[in-house]
């Protein structure tokens, strides 16, 4: 049979106009489900961004022994920089160390006769979970003594535990939420189809195939899902800007960044989910009324 897209579109839009209340209900349900899902995505993105930036601040500092030669220092720096776990490593010379010290504690620094501070290398990692391993490697490399390597082991352990919990909690919440939105939306669509079951019966008596009856409903579900989720996606993006702006002004010490959320892909995901739920919801709901 010829696939009559124009006819299905006209039918779908006419039905939506005639069943405006039902369509608005279905679109509103989609809107709310996608809104909550989107907020979940925002929380997820910001939490992982915060965790990441805290992780970035965690650094391993390895102090060179007093008698380290320039040659050894250069070799050590090159070697450390080549390790895959290492995101960035910075060399802090004796002079720089003193300068920093003078800036932070000027009174004490005044009384120093010569420079007692050792040169060091500051290492930040891609994943703070690798701290222990990197510390071990620093010792193995032979340039540093175990007691000359410092890193906040406890902070890192705790951070890893918390990250694990939060990730799982967010995943669980998202899954629960998706399931309940599918149920809610297909219920809204089912109600609207139930109101039109007589029509479906007549269509089938006139010789319409299942797909012919179903198509306008599916288009309708798609449009409702699209409208509901597009509005929700816009609100989510606006909420994100609003939140980042507010946070930067009111809690600037908290590492909340505008780049934590990829606006375009977030919107794309939310709209795609809304459309899929709308299509699947109507497809499945019509099926029950097609057995004439």
């Amino acid at each position: 049979m010829r696939f009559n897209l124009g006819f299905f579109l006209r039918e779908a839009f006419k039905n939506m106009r005639l069943n405006l209340l039902m369509s608005v209900t279905a679109a509103t349900t989609t809107f709310m489900c996608i809104l909550v899902l989107g907020i979940g995505m925002l929380v997820n993105a910001h939490v992982s961004d915060i965790i990441r930036s805290i992780g970035e601040r965690v650094e391993i500092t390895a102090f060179f022994p007093e008698d380290a030669t320039q040659q050894e220092i250069r070799q050590a720096r090159e070697e450390v920089q080549s390790w895959p776990e290492v995101r960035e490593s910075t060399y802090v010379s004796k002079e720089e160390a003193l300068q920093r010290f003078q800036e932070s504690l000027p009174e004490i620094a005044q009384n120093l006769e010569d420079n007692p501070l050792p040169a060091s290398i500051e290492i930040s990692l891609h994943d703070p979970a690798d701290s222990q391993a990197v510390a071990d490697r620093l010792v193995e490399s032979g340039y540093f003594a175990r007691e000359d390597i410092s890193y906040p082991a406890q902070t890192i352990d705790r951070l890893n535990t918390i990250t694990g919990y939060i990730t799982w909690a967010l995943r669980g919440a998202t899954a629960l939420f998706l399931i309940s939105s599918v149920l809610l939306i297909s219920n809204a669509i089912r109600l609207s189809i139930f109101a039109r079951r007589k029509e479906i019966e007549i269509q089938k008596l006139v010789g319409a195939s299942d797909n012919f009856v179903r198509m306008p409903f599916v288009v309708e579900g798609m449009v409702q899902g699209l409208i509901g989720s597009a509005v929700a996606a816009l609100v989510v993006v606006w909420l994100n800007f609003f939140f980042v702006d507010w946070a930067n002004r009111n809690i600037p010490f908290f590492p909340i960044s505008a780049t934590a959320v990829d606006t375009v892909s977030t919107m794309a995901i939310l709209i795609a989910v809304g459309v899929i739920i709308g299509v699947a919801g109507s497809y499945l709901s019509v099926r029950r009324f097609l057995k004439v």
Partner: protein, 228 residues
């Protein structure tokens, strides 16, 4: 065209609606299926449309055994049968013209064909000036004309009407019967289930009478009751 071979239909476990019914309706015939309410007329119609399956026996339509038609092909089967019902079964959100057009859209016909054919057929049933009215803006007789137009627009070989005048007053009924008769004269096989005695008596067509699910009479130029 239509053949019932020892057809029995039991609804649920114990409602015997048809009992060993055998009949044959040839091409181009006009046949009344008469009987009191509950005698099984609608069951015959629903079996022909393959809305329901017989409990025993075989139904043939257009030379095909219905039990051999897979579910997927039921729509095509139904398109070969025009259908008219007591309650019209028009789509409430469509105008007269759109209701007729729907039956053509279903078969995937081109828009241009639909646009020329629909007004023609509505004119044929005498509704040229009511094409854009919705069912609830039309009288019962007019709605039935729309439903006949819809049943006939694709020129199916068979047209079945289940109590087409059941909701109409006698004058209106005459018009509807004349319409069905005209459709029959162009070669369409017409089967009308009814308990409208006067109508049947006037038309003097073949009459098959049902009583409690059994065929009790089959007369070529019959009346509703047996002529003594």
């Amino acid at each position: 065209m239509i053949r019932f071979d020892n057809v029995t239909k039991v609804y649920g476990n114990d409602v015997l609606a048809l009992e060993r019914v055998s009949m044959e309706i040839g091409q181009g015939e006009f046949v009344f299926l008469v009987g009191a309410s509950g005698s099984g007329k609608s069951t015959v119609v629903r079996l022909i449309l393959k809305e329901i399956e017989p409990s025993a026996g075989t139904v043939y339509v257009n030379g095909r055994r219905l039990s051999a038609i897979p579910r997927r092909q039921i729509p095509r089967h139904r398109r070969s049968i025009g259908c008219v019902f007591q309650d019209f079964k028009l789509l409430p959100n469509k105008t007269a013209a759109e209701n007729v057009a729907y039956a053509m859209e279903v078969t995937g016909q081109r828009r241009r064909a639909i646009r020329t054919k629909v007004p023609q057929i509505l004119e044929l049933v005498g509704l040229a000036n009511k094409m854009d009215k919705y069912p609830d803006q039309l009288s019962g007789g007019e709605q039935q004309r729309v439903s006949i137009a819809r049943a006939f627009v694709s020129q199916p070989p068979i047209l079945i009407a289940d109590e087409p005048t059941g909701n109409l007053d006698p004058e209106t009924s005459v018009g509807i019967m004349q319409l069905l008769h005209r459709i029959n004269r162009i070669g369409t096989t017409v089967l009308v289930a009814t308990h409208d005695k006067e109508m049947v008596d006037v038309m003097r067509k073949r009459v098959i009478a049902l009583e409690d699910g059994r065929i009790v009479r089959d007369r070529v130029k019959g009346a509703y009751l047996d002529e003594v």
